[in-house]
C-alpha cells in the first residue's frame, strides 16, 4: 500500500514541477513551485529524512515562494520564446541524456560504496549531540557550515547593493489579520526555540529553527508591524551579521583552547554547539527576512 503512496507522490512531484516550469501564467507557476516544494518534503519524510524535509518546506517552498512572488510583481508577463525545431531537439536529447545517465549511474552504485556512515557512527559519541545530521553540520564539518553562512551574507550584501527602489506595497490583509498575528508570531518564536533545542537529539536544528523564525517575522512584516526601511533595519542588520561573527569567534576561541580551528574543547561540545546554534538561528531568521524585504535606507529616493 505504501508503494501506491510513493507512486502517487512521485507522479505528483513530476506533474507539479512540469507545471511550475511551463505554466504561461506566473502566479500559477509560483503556486505550482510552492506546492512542488511541499510534496518533495513529503517524499523525503518517506525516505527517513525529516530534518531535510523540514528545511525544504520552510526554506525551499515557503520562503523561496515568497521571494518569487515579490519578484514577479515587478516583472512583465513572460513572452513565449520561439524555439526552432533543431534547438528544441538538441535540448531534449541533452536533457534526456543527462537524466538517463544520472538514473543509470545511481542504479549501478556499488552497494559497498559506504564511506562516511561508519565514521559518523563511530565518532557520534564524543560529538556532544545524538542527532547525526547536527553532529555532521556543527561538529565534524563545522567549516562548511561557517562558509555557508558567509554565502548567505554575501547574497544579502548583493541584495542590499541592488536596493529595490520601489518598496513592496502590501495589499490590505483585512480586519482578522491582527488576531491571527497574535497567535502566529508567538507560535513561530516558540516553535523556533523548540526546534533549536530539539536539534541536538531529534530532527531540528539551527537552519530549520531560523527558517520558522523567519516565517513568523514575515507574517509580522506583511502585517506592517515589522518595518525594514530607514533606521528600523539596523537591528536586523546587526543580527544578520552577528551569526558569522559569533561562529568565527567561537572557532578562533576553540583554536586558542585546543590548538585546532573549530575543535571544541572535549566534554563541552554540546554547550558550544548550542550557543553557536542559537546565534545562527537568530542570524538566519534576520538574514532570510532581509533577503525578502530588501533594505531600503531612508532618504535615497530615485
Amino acid at each position: 500500500m505504501m508503494t501506491v503512496f510513493d507512486v502517487m507522490l512521485a507522479a505528483t512531484i513530476l506533474w507539479t514541477a512540469w507545471t511550475a516550469l511551463t505554466a504561461p501564467d506566473r502566479t500559477a507557476a509560483i503556486a505550482a513551485f510552492l506546492v512542488f516544494g511541499l510534496f518533495v518534503g513529503l517524499s523525503w519524510v518517506r525516505l527517513g529524512a525529516p530534518d531535510v524535509a523540514m528545511a525544504e518546506a520552510a526554506i525551499g517552498s515557503g520562503l523561496t515562494g515568497a521571494l518569487l512572488l515579490r519578484a514577479s510583481r515587478g516583472m512583465t508577463p513572460p513572452a513565449p520564446t520561439r524555439v526552432t525545431a533543431p534547438h528544441r531537439a538538441a535540448a531534449v536529447i541533452t536533457a534526456a541524456g543527462v537524466a538517463g545517465v544520472l538514473a543509470w549511474a545511481v542504479l549501478v552504485l556499488p552497494e559497498a560504496a559506504v564511506v562516511y556512515d561508519p565514521l559518523v557512527d563511530a565518532n557520534i559519541g564524543d560529538s556532544g549531540v545524538s542527532n547525526p545530521v547536527t553532529a555532521v553540520l556543527l561538529n565534524f564539518r563545522a567549516w562548511d557550515t561557517l562558509l555557508e553562512l558567509v554565502v548567505l551574507l554575501a547574497a544579502l550584501l548583493l541584495v542590499a547593493a541592488l536596493r529595490p527602489i520601489r518598496a513592496a506595497r502590501m495589499a490590505d490583509l483585512g480586519p482578522l489579520y491582527p488576531p491571527f498575528l497574535r497567535i502566529m508570531a508567538p507560535l513561530s518564536i516558540f516553535l523556533s526555540a523548540h526546534l533549536l533545542w530539539l536539534g541536538t537529539s531529534d530532527p531540528g536544528g539551527a537552519f530549520q529553527a531560523g527558517a520558522v523564525l523567519c516565517g513568523g517575522l514575515l507574517a509580522l512584516f506583511f502585517g506592517g508591524t515589522l518595518k525594514t526601511d530607514g533606521p528600523d533595519v539596523m537591528p536586523l542588520w546587526a543580527l544578520a551579521v552577528m551569526g558569522v561573527v559569533v561562529f568565527v569567534g567561537a572557532g578562533l576561541l576553540a583554536e586558542a583552547l585546543t590548538g585546532t580551528l573549530l575543535e571544541y574543547p572535549d566534554g563541552a561540545d554540546k554547550a558550544w554547539i548550542l550557543t553557536i546554534e542559537s546565534a545562527l538561528t537568530l542570524s538566519i531568521g534576520a538574514t532570510l527576512l532581509l533577503l525578502f524585504s530588501g533594505l531600503r535606507q531612508g532618504g535615497a529616493r530615485p
Binding site: 490590505d172 483585512g174 480586519p175 489579520y177 491571527f180 497567535i183 502566529m184
Partner: protein, 105 residues
C-alpha cells in the same frame, strides 16, 4: 482494541472523509462562495479530527502538544484567509471597493 483506539480510528476516518469532501467541493462547486464555504469548514474540521484521532491513538504528551498546536494553527490560518477572500470578493462584487483601491500597487 480498546474503546479509545476505536474512537481514534473513527476520528481518523472522519477527518480523511472531510478532506476528500472538501477536495470534491473545491472542484465541483461553480460559485466562489460555495467553494469557500465547503473548503474552510471541511479542511479545518478534517485536520482537527485527524489530530484528535492521532492524539487518542498516541497518548504521549510529546505527541499531543504539536498535534493540538497544528489543529489550532490550521483552523486560525484557514479562518483568516477565508474571511479575507470573502470580504474582499464581496467588496468587489458590490463595487464599493475602497479598500481595494488602497491595495492597488
Amino acid at each position: 482494541m480498546t474503546l479509545l483506539e476505536l474512537f481514534g480510528y473513527a476520528c481518523l476516518c472522519g477527518g480523511a472523509a472531510f478532506l476528500l469532501l472538501a477536495a470534491l467541493g473545491l472542484w465541483r462547486f461553480s460559485d466562489l462562495y460555495a467553494r469557500l464555504h465547503a473548503l474552510t469548514k471541511a479542511d479545518t474540521a478534517g485536520v482537527a479530527l485527524v489530530a484528535l484521532g492521532a492524539g487518542c491513538l498516541d497518548g504521549r504528551l510529546v505527541a499531543i502538544i504539536p498535534l493540538g498546536l497544528t489543529a489550532i494553527l490550521v483552523a486560525v490560518s484557514g479562518a483568516t484567509t477565508g474571511h479575507l477572500i470573502a470580504s474582499a470578493a464581496l467588496g468587489e462584487d458590490e463595487g464599493e471597493d475602497e479598500n481595494e483601491e488602497a491595495a492597488q500597487p
